[in-house]
């Protein structure tokens, strides 16, 4: 018999209108890195939440070391030695690294904290696993990569032996990803078992031993990584062959659609400007990509251009119209579409149904209402057209509550709505964040289609793969300023990485060097 540390057998979990896990079986061997692969909405997160005690399964059993266990909350999971690094870190920003690590398992004597021993224990762990952290720094002051190491230390401090990593590489730079991979291998050597949730096939190929694939809530199979390749895996995951969209970069001398000059956007977090005196142009028929590590002013730049945040100075010109002082709606009507970074916060009214969301930027226009009364037939017709054209899948079509839809389809709905506006400029911020290969392929195809229709596309992305696949021109942003303009054909991810962390800067972007 195989030595399994965790077995989840015939798990079924149902949400209203959706079967998130349907008879899923997952077996993790002791001391392996086991990947859980699946498209967004395939049920990976649900399955992990069941294992971590956040959800109770409707059917099925969980076994640890061959014995059935009952996990009804995260504390149970912790007692069984199961720890999880969530995609969005669960850290207290104003606490120090050490305080965060002990949070929830504070060592006390007579009700007083005993920090000295703990400090030593954490330092030892950090040394042993080569997890470099600044133990007394506050979380808000340290990099995302270090925050992740804090999360890992948290699990180690609790002496967890089964470590779940939920899409850990989504927020890291190429250099940080390499380091994480090393750490994971180190952990295995020390006898830990790792469950690695991802949809990045090359990462799975490079560190994992076995991989289990889920598709639409169903268990597809488990294979040895050594016996497979990325094409086979992506076919298992999506259910069909997937092709990567790649564009040949063009050097466009077309008409300028968006022109930003000396733009300054103040920061809400600190006194410095989030966007500091930035100028650039997006031309018709090109995809301009702004690359950079999260939090270097990309979001604020987009907020400034789209009108969601006030700018301090600078001018923004769209289609030869100065839109600097315009309202959001006026900007949209001048020819701007915006696929926002946070689709739940900005992109959708989750409690509206699909039809209502698809008319969010149309409802006030002619034909969609008469004298203030919404023309329901027109709205439904519009919604049906978009659903068909963009293949938005949902339980009840136009009447589906958007909250119940999968992330990929929610994003498709937003993209459908924005492209449908037929604006000259399409701003897409992280349009494929958290999506799977199939959905990414779709979205990339749509963006490229816009470019080929001679629209201007401004893409903000943290994923270098995406940057290289579909951009015509790359601007690297660091600390609120541009530090390099690159041709995707003539550069490498490593080179961009150096610009992203600010250790290199092209001469034309050096201050006062003009």
């Amino acid at each position: 018999m195989e030595d399994y540390i965790i077995e989840m057998e015939n798990i079924r979990k149902e949400f209203p209108g959706v079967v998130a896990n349907d008879d899923v079986t997952l077996r993790v061997r002791r001391g392996e890195i086991h990947a859980l692969l699946g498209e967004n909405g395939a049920g990976k997160s649900t399955l992990m939440s069941v294992l971590f005690g956040l959800y109770r399964p409707d059917l099925g059993v969980i076994k640890k070391n061959g014995e059935v266990v009952n996990i009804s909350n995260p504390n149970d999971a912790n007692d069984l030695g199961i720890g999880m690094v969530h995609q969005h870190f669960k850290l207290v920003e104003v606490f120090t690294v050490l305080e965060n690590i002990i949070l929830g398992a504070e060592p006390t004597k007579y009700g007083f904290l005993t920090m000295a021993e703990t400090r030593k224990k954490v330092l030892d762990l950090s040394e042993k696993f080569n997890l470099r952290v600044d133990i007394d720094a506050k979380i808000e002051d340290i990099s995302v990569g270090m925050q992740q190491r804090v999360e890992i230390l948290k699990m180690l401090y609790r002496e967890n032996e089964i470590l779940i990593f939920d899409e850990p590489t989504a927020v890291l730079t190429p250099q940080e990803i390499d380091e994480l991979m090393k750490i994971m291998k180190e952990l295995i050597k020390e006898g830990k078992s790792i469950l690695f949730i991802s949809h990045k096939l090359n990462e799975i190929m490079s560190v994992c031993d076995r991989v289990s694939v889920l598709r639409k809530g169903k268990y597809i199979g488990t294979v040895n990584v050594a016996d497979t390749n990325t094409d086979a895996l992506s076919e298992m995951m999506v259910g069909r062959k997937v092709e990567t969209i790649k564009v040949t970069p063009k050097q466009i001398k077309g008409q300028s659609i968006l022109k930003v000059e000396n733009l300054i956007v103040p920061s809400k977090l600190h006194k410095n400007n989030a966007v500091n005196n930035v100028s650039f142009e997006v031309k018709a028929g090109e995809i301009l990509c702004i690359a950079g590590i999260e939090g270097n002013g990309q979001s604020e730049l987009v907020y400034g251009i789209t009108g969601l945040e006030k700018t301090t100075s600078g001018t923004i010109t769209l289609n030869d119209t100065d839109i600097t002082g315009m309202s959001i709606r006026e900007r949209n009507l001048t020819g701007m579409s915006h696929i926002p970074e946070d689709r739940h916060k900005f992109g959708l009214v989750l409690d509206f149904n699909l039809a209502d969301n698809l008319m969010l930027k149309k409802y006030f226009q002619k034909g969609y209402h008469s004298y203030g009364f919404i023309n329901k037939d027109r709205v439904l017709k519009h919604s049906k057209e978009l659903i068909k054209k963009f293949d938005i899948r949902s339980g009840r079509g136009s009447y589906t509550t958007t909250r119940s839809m999968s992330g990929g389809n929610q994003q498709k709905a937003i993209i459908a709505r924005e492209i449908d506006c037929e604006s000259e400029l399409l701003i897409a911020v992280q349009p494929t964040r958290g999506l799977d290969v199939g959905a990414i392929e779709n979205i990339h195809r749509m963006l490229v289609e816009q470019r080929d229709n001679n629209k201007a596309v401004l893409l903000v992305s943290l994923e270098l793969e995406e940057v290289f696949d579909i951009s015509d021109r790359i601007l690297v942003m660091y600390n609120g300023e541009f530090v390099a303009e690159l041709n995707p054909r003539k550069t490498t991810p490593q080179e961009i990485g150096l610009y992203m962390v600010g250790s290199k800067r092209q001469p034309q972007f050096v201050k006062g060097g003009e």
Partner: protein, 404 residues
């Protein structure tokens, strides 16, 4: 019976059923309290709680006068419920309905008595004043992002004391003794009384007027505004997700202010409907009027649905009239306790609907299991599961399979 238990309830039916269950639950708890009260008495008779409860439930049906009073009570309740519920839809918690109600009522009376306005014009004055009193917190919320709960609570007291102050300094409002209250409308300006369509005498009660009609019409209007107009769409969008509304170019600030203005206007009309009935007189008051607050449970009970608010307003109106049956048996405080308990438990509708949903899910799972045991088939896709089994055809098809 089988088919019925298998049927998946629609969201609307589910809401209505759970409201009814929680109302029944509330009545049961109220009844238990009555029994407790009886047991603690020195000489208790076991039949008393039964008699009292029966009286309570049937009291409004005893004669047409009492029955009419249900509608009389319900009219301002519905309007206050609409005021609170409409603000809810925009994500705003208008605790200030009572202040808007008070000033609406007072100025409607000022218009009726001092300016000799006809009823509809007096009502309009009340509406405008209520709207203004709603505008203030709306403005502060939209422009300075000051929490509307705080501003509306403070403005409630401002409203009450403003009305008191004005009443004290407006002797022309009270020239008939006793001088501590606004004079009766019938004596000063009968044309300002809400029309009764000539039914008052026919029904033999002073409590009949068109207030209930106004309330129902406005409920229907609010329903249409919320569900059929672009403005209602904007209000709901702001209520569900202010960021997404801003992103879509909706002027969230304007929508917030407009919502509070409309909410205040509805509460102002409620004030007019209460006091232009001519059955009560406006006093110098030391406590906030309960009516505006009663709008909150009315709205909650109906999940802020304008048409549901008609029903919940009538229900609470009925309870209030029924509560008179306790008088003489229990102190008025006890009456209030029992009424509050009933209303309080009635508001558990949301929990009840969740419980029903869970039960349905479990049943479905059980069926899924037994299906698999029988035929070894792969489980039916989700859509089939809910649709085919819904319909009688689906059930028939199943039995046919079995008979084969």
């Amino acid at each position: 019976m089988m088919a019925k238990s298998r049927k998946e309830l629609s969201e609307g039916t589910l809401n209505i059923i759970s409201s009814i269950i929680s109302i029944l639950g509330g009545l049961l708890i109220g009844f238990l309290i009555l029994i407790l009260l009886e047991i603690t008495k020195s000489e208790s008779t076991i039949s008393t709680p039964f008699t009292v409860m029966r009286n309570f439930l049937t009291y409004p049906l005893q004669d047409s006068g009492k029955f009419i009073k249900v509608f009389y009570n319900a009219a301002p309740l519905i309007l206050c419920g609409l005021a609170v519920g409409f603000a809810f839809k925009a994500g705003l918690f208008n605790i200030g309905a009572t202040g808007q109600y008070t000033l609406g009522a007072f100025f409607a009376l000022v218009a009726a008595i001092l300016w000799q306005f006809p009823w509809w014009a007096a009502m309009l004055v009340g509406m405008v004043v209520g709207a203004f009193w709603g505008f203030i917190p709306g403005f502060f919320k939209a422009v300075f992002n000051i929490n509307e709960v705080i501003t509306t609570i403070m403005l409630n007291w401002a409203a009450l004391n403003l009305a008191n102050l004005l009443l004290y300094n407006m002797p022309k409002l009270r020239i008939i003794p006793p001088y501590n209250r606004v004079d009766k409308l019938i004596a000063r300006n009968p044309s300002a009384l809400l029309p009764d369509l000539g039914l008052k005498e026919l029904l033999g009660t002073d409590f009949f007027n068109i207030g209930i009609i106004i309330a129902i019409v406005l409920a229907v209007v609010m329903f249409i505004v919320l569900n059929k107009t672009t403005f209602g769409y904007e209000v709901k969008a702001c209520g569900f997700n202010k960021n997404a509304s801003t992103y879509a170019g909706i002027k969230a600030k304007r929508t917030i202010i407009m919502t509070m203005v409309i909410s205040g206007a509805l509460a102002g009309i409620a004030g007019g409907v209460s006091f232009l009935a001519g059955t009560i007189q406006f006093n110098i008051e030391s406590n906030l009027l309960a009516m505006g607050f009663n709008g909150i449970p009315v709205a909650l009970l109906a999940n802020s649905h304008p048409l549901g608010i008609i029903a919940s307003g009538l229900f609470i109106g009925y309870m209030q009239v029924g509560g008179q049956a306790f008088e003489g048996v229990y102190s008025s405080e006890m009456t209030n306790v029992i009424l509050s308990v009933i209303i309080y438990f009635s508001a558990f509708a949301l929990i009840v609907s969740q419980v029903i949903k869970n039960i349905q899910k479990k049943n479905r799972l059980k069926r899924g299991e037994s299906d698999e045991d029988g035929s070894e088939s792969v489980s039916v896709p989700e859509t089939d599961d809910s649709e085919s089994e819904d319909s009688p055809e689906g059930a028939n098809a199943k039995t046919m399979e079995v008979s084969k």
